[in-house]
């Protein structure tokens, strides 16, 4: 349980949660500050478009409304679950409108100009511009490869390799079997590896994939 600083004082997260459960929006906002980068990261990497910000905002509103249901444990995990489910809902909604297929997405992902709209920036960006540019280039490659995955693969890989949920948790959230999670994750990783392989020269040496 992390300690947060409020008005110069260190406050235990539990206290903030309790206050938020009493309706103290200021206390809840301290939790928002603590987790908003992570929440947005997850939402963006699943959604891969600018709906991520709205989803994140609404997820925080929803979390505040439902915070009386939080019964303890990891608030971070609870919050990430709300975010992930909000993304799921949106993907399902988009699916109903018959949006992206893997083929369409892969056609889109041929170039690096995919990140057009993404004025995404990273927490703790390097002070040195060159290093920052180089790293951003690598990160963009990775993000593009994630983006190129099919929805069902991307959401599993984000949960497993970025959020680092266990298979059972993913199965629970995704409403699929453990075997399906295992299968989708392996395919997602294999696809990502193949995608990264095409940009091998840009990867740091320790990450260079053997041919």
């Amino acid at each position: 349980m992390s300690n947060l600083t409020v008005n110069g004082e260190s406050m235990n997260e539990t206290v903030l949660i309790q206050q938020a459960q009493q309706g103290e929006v200021q206390a809840f906002n301290e939790l928002v500050i603590e987790y908003q980068d992570l929440a947005y990261s997850v939402a963006y990497r699943i959604m891969q478009n600018d709906t991520a910000a709205d989803i994140t905002q609404n997820a925080f509103i929803s979390a505040f409304e439902k915070i009386h249901q939080f019964k303890g444990g990891s608030f971070k995990a609870w919050m990430m679950r709300i975010i992930t489910n909000a993304c799921y809902d949106e993907l399902r909604r988009l699916k109903r409108r018959s949006t992206s297929s893997l083929d369409e997405m892969q056609e889109d992902s041929d170039g690096l100009d995919l990140m057009d709209e993404t004025s995404i920036s990273f927490v703790g960006e390097a002070i040195h511009p060159e290093a920052s540019v180089q790293r951003n280039e690598l990160q963009e490659i990775i993000e593009n490869c994630i983006k190129a995955l099919a929805d069902i693969h991307r959401i599993v890989v984000v949960m497993a390799d970025i959020e680092q949920y266990r298979y059972e948790e993913i199965a629970d959230m995704a409403g699929v079997s453990l075997g399906t999670v295992k299968s989708r994750l392996s395919r997602a990783r294999a696809n990502l590896r193949d995608c990264l392989q095409t940009h091998r020269e840009l990867l740091p040496e320790k990450y260079r994939l053997s041919k």
Binding site: K66, G124, K211
Partner: protein
Amino acid sequence: MNREQPPINDIELLSAFIDGELSDAERIELNNRLENEPALKAELESLQTTVDILHSLPMLKAPRDFRLDPAIYGRKSGRITSLSAWRVVSAVGVAAAVVLVAGSLLLGGTGEDADDGPAGSQIAIVPSVQSEDDGQDEIEAIIPPSETALQFAGDVTGEANNNIPAIEESEADSAFADDEGSDDDLGNESDQSAEEPVEQDTSVPDESPFPAGAPPAVSTSQPQQASEPMAEGYGGSEETTELPPEDSIGAADTFNGEAEIAGETGRSADNEGRDEQQTEVAQDAGPTSAIGRMDIDTLVSDLIQLVVTLTEWIFSNPLGR
């Protein structure tokens, strides 16, 4: 890819191996194979590198501040977490109102006998609940034989019951219609939340009244604001919980009471002598919707609207106590 892809089953095995998700038996068997199959080992390394790369991804920076605006999401005094006693009693109140009105129709309130009734004969529908029963705010129903008017009174003390100008029918209709709009919003949210596989979220239906990207303003009962989503959970901040128009004082009493409890804004003057937790069901159709010789169709229509609005109000009311 230059190398041959191993069977997908092997990739699944390797992937689960990386995550420590294999059974002991599977792991031992795979370890044996890895010692004897260089291609499989190379595959494992490449997958492990991919996972390491993903783990190396930094967090993104939030593009904006996601904190909630205290002016909109200000202090709330508690929320309903289950079907509370209050809801049960309120539901009984609604049921009683429906029975009474239906009964009045059956008894022939179509205007034929209107002249026989005493002046000011009305149906007073006051489903109310009181935590400390002082005998004042019980459910009341006065059904003279020739009632032709409906009154939805929020205040049974009657201080404003008989001297308030009748509300325009069209205004009342508009208020009901707006409330139905809010109901639709809530219904949509509930549908959406039903899909959520979150365990913690299933104990209570998602009551989020807010559509994507549109954090709502706090809603009062005023018709002109009712097209906005209901912010039932947030009570009102003082500046957003405004008084209803003067021609609906009875409704103003009730809804101010609601706002006070929800938002703890504490305007207790209108609730003299009453427990703050007291809740009454009333309608924003106005305090004295006196309709002489009401056509039965209009009466039935208004009755339906009343039931819809009462139900919506009860199940969206933030008061858990």
